[in-house]
Symmetry: C2
Subunit: 390 residues, 2 copies
């Protein structure tokens, strides 16, 4: 039986990702919103959009909390109810879920969801410290743990348990940079070679510079509506047919396994069940490659390959453009960039383009079903969405 | 016609408010959650509660973002989906709205909403700076504006336009401290005299020390469910029959008026309309008295009295316990304390006690209908809820 849509995406926008000097988060969000408004000309944003849920990880970058009403104010949405949602790097994935619930509850007909992060105005060590606030203060941060450190623990465990190699990790980076060249909104539109990745300086072994995602300024947004109303608004529609969110222990060291993310498996199961889809039904996916190991584990957690086979899976070419299940056609967090709060809905933006045939040079032929996988922290939060072209 | 309930509150908890040395936010939240679990013995939290929306204003106090999964983890809610909601001082008011939508959407049968803020571990000047992050960085913070400053502008405008006096402001503080003495969870359980308020040192004229709410550690939570299920769970039930949220320009200086909060008027209208209630139907209210002037303006914005009459309204005794419309029976932010992220659902906690006849020495006789008014920032966000005993 064909799963009923929960809500329909009728437009989407992203800002240019990169080092956007001289712009505040509100301006980046407005840039994304203007693209979304432009795609949907028969909606009057200030009149028709009644609520906004906006992901942002940290107020530390701009010493600015209460971000949602600022972003809504600048994007011309007043007096729409505007609420910031934060689940670390899964902030806008979680914001999307709030938007879906807002539509399904009958409260609103049209809502905006999105996310934003302005990061490059802070020096890199400060950014690392701010990002670390999404890890546990007394047990992780206090002991010097950072996110490269947490994901390096996962990587070494995966290497130990399954024989995954540094080269396999590097191949995720090479693939995603190759994809990113085709995305004009990506931060780093430059191919890299396996050799460059392998020779890049260690950040936290086995993760090297090119195993890590980018510190990026950016914003993204989506316009959601009820499936019935969507048909009247545009022909470029994508249905949300599954959503899942789960949490795991906050502390990495309390988990049974470092080689998979239990919350992601649970969230995926929930989304697969709701959408009546299976891993083999997915045509295109955006997964949370904050570090290359995260993409390899994502393949396994999402059921794209068997546990431990993620390294071989990337080597097989299946997940490259031209393969049978292209992953991170946008370039991923690795090459498109990772403006933390914006990432979740930026993944959905890419799927929106793919599933409406607007992805241009990186279009996956006949893409009908897409999946997005968004992690918070070291996997205490996971959000998975499954989309279908309408 | 009797308005249908949107969702039903079947339990509630708050931590003791105050200077809670040696405790993290997660521990305060767990303290509140345990009270809520204790009130609802036939619900198994880890099994039956599937989602949590938790308000927190700032990660700066504990250098800890990604708060919702930590709080959920410690409170025993894993693997429930846990999401932080932030709208400055209206964070948990906004979280409650997410919870209502989560129930109404059909996603979940039972959800927890709440909020937490651990503040006293930072020195007071640092707290003032952190709180200021909810004001605009480039236009307000950068120019030295703080929240006492913003509300002082509203106060002087109100004094200029309507002849409101410093004594009238002070009477709000005297009333709320009198109420707070009756609340064992309140931070400052001590009566103060008009003379003490008037002679207290100026913070930002006309606001003096005792015109300002407290820097407090605290947490609060509610358990929500579908109205049909609620009857099976407990006899102590309160229905949510109206909710409203609106935003206004982020910058105070861009607003038409400093003597009323347009977002609060809009949110109240929305909640009154949804619940089919009028100001005269309200038996008890908790309003956002972050500064004494805010309570006076709230009376007017909520339609409890005419514009400009708020000063006289507090003098009349109407809003004191024993009057016809007691306001801030909990002690309000002024005496109970204002752990920012916890405030919205702590207001609802007080109404839950009042509307289920559990408010003990501060019980308002025959209270059936309650209203909560929660502001974010200088009023860029306002959230209003209307509750009915079930």
């Amino acid at each position: 039986m064909r799963a009923k849509p929960l809500a329909t995406i009728v437009s989407a926008g992203v800002s240019k990702f990169g080092r956007r000097e001289g712009l505040y988060a509100r301006e980046l969000f407005t840039e994304a919103a203007l693209e979304a408004f432009h795609r949907l000309e028969n909606v009057d944003p200030g009149k028709d959009i009644k609520a906004a849920f906006i992901g942002q990880m940290s107020e530390a970058y701009e010493h600015q909390s209460h971000t949602a009403p600022i972003a809504a104010n600048w994007a011309g949405l007043l007096p729409a109810a505007a609420t910031r949602v934060e689940d670390a790097c899964a902030s806008s994935g979680a914001a999307l879920r709030c938007g879906i619930m807002a539509i399904m509850s009958g409260f609103y007909d049209i809502v905006m969801v999105g996310g934003v992060e302005k990061m490059t105005n802070q020096p890199t060590p400060e950014v690392t410290t701010i990002l670390a606030s999404a890890a546990d203060f007394p047990f992780e941060q206090w002991n010097g743990m950072t996110f490269p450190g947490l994901f390096a623990l996962m990587a070494t465990s995966h290497m130990h348990e399954y024989g995954t190699t540094e080269e396999q990790l590097a191949k995720v980076a090479v693939k995603n940079h190759k994809h990113g060249v085709l995305n004009p909104k990506a931060h780093m539109q430059r191919e890299i070679t396996l050799d460059e990745v392998m020779k890049s300086r260690p950040v936290c072994w086995p993760l090297k510079l090119y195993d890590c995602s980018l510190i990026t300024d950016g914003a993204s947004c989506l316009i959601l509506t009820k499936p019935k109303l969507a048909k009247k608004l545009t022909d470029n529609r994508v249905q949300i047919i599954g959503t899942g969110q789960a949490q795991d222990t906050f502390l990495l060291h309390e988990r049974d396994s470092f080689t998979s993310v239990k919350a992601a498996k649970s969230a995926a199961q929930e989304a697969y069940k709701m959408s009546d889809m299976k891993p083999k039904d997915i045509n295109v996916a955006e997964v949370h490659d904050c570090f290359t190991i995260a993409e390899i584990i994502a393949y396994e957690d999402l059921g794209f390959c068997r546990p431990g086979q993620g390294g071989k899976f990337v080597e097989s070419g299946t997940t490259a453009l031209g393969g049978s299940l292209p992953v991170n056609t946008s370039g991923g967090l690795k090459s498109k960039g990772h403006p933390v709060g914006a990432t979740g809905t930026a993944q959905i933006y890419e799927l929106y383009l793919q599933l409406t045939g607007q992805a241009e040079r990186r279009q996956v032929p006949d893409a009908k079903i897409g999946l997005a996988h968004n992690l918070g922290g070291s996997g205490a939060t996971a959000v998975v969405h499954i989309l279908r072209s309408d």
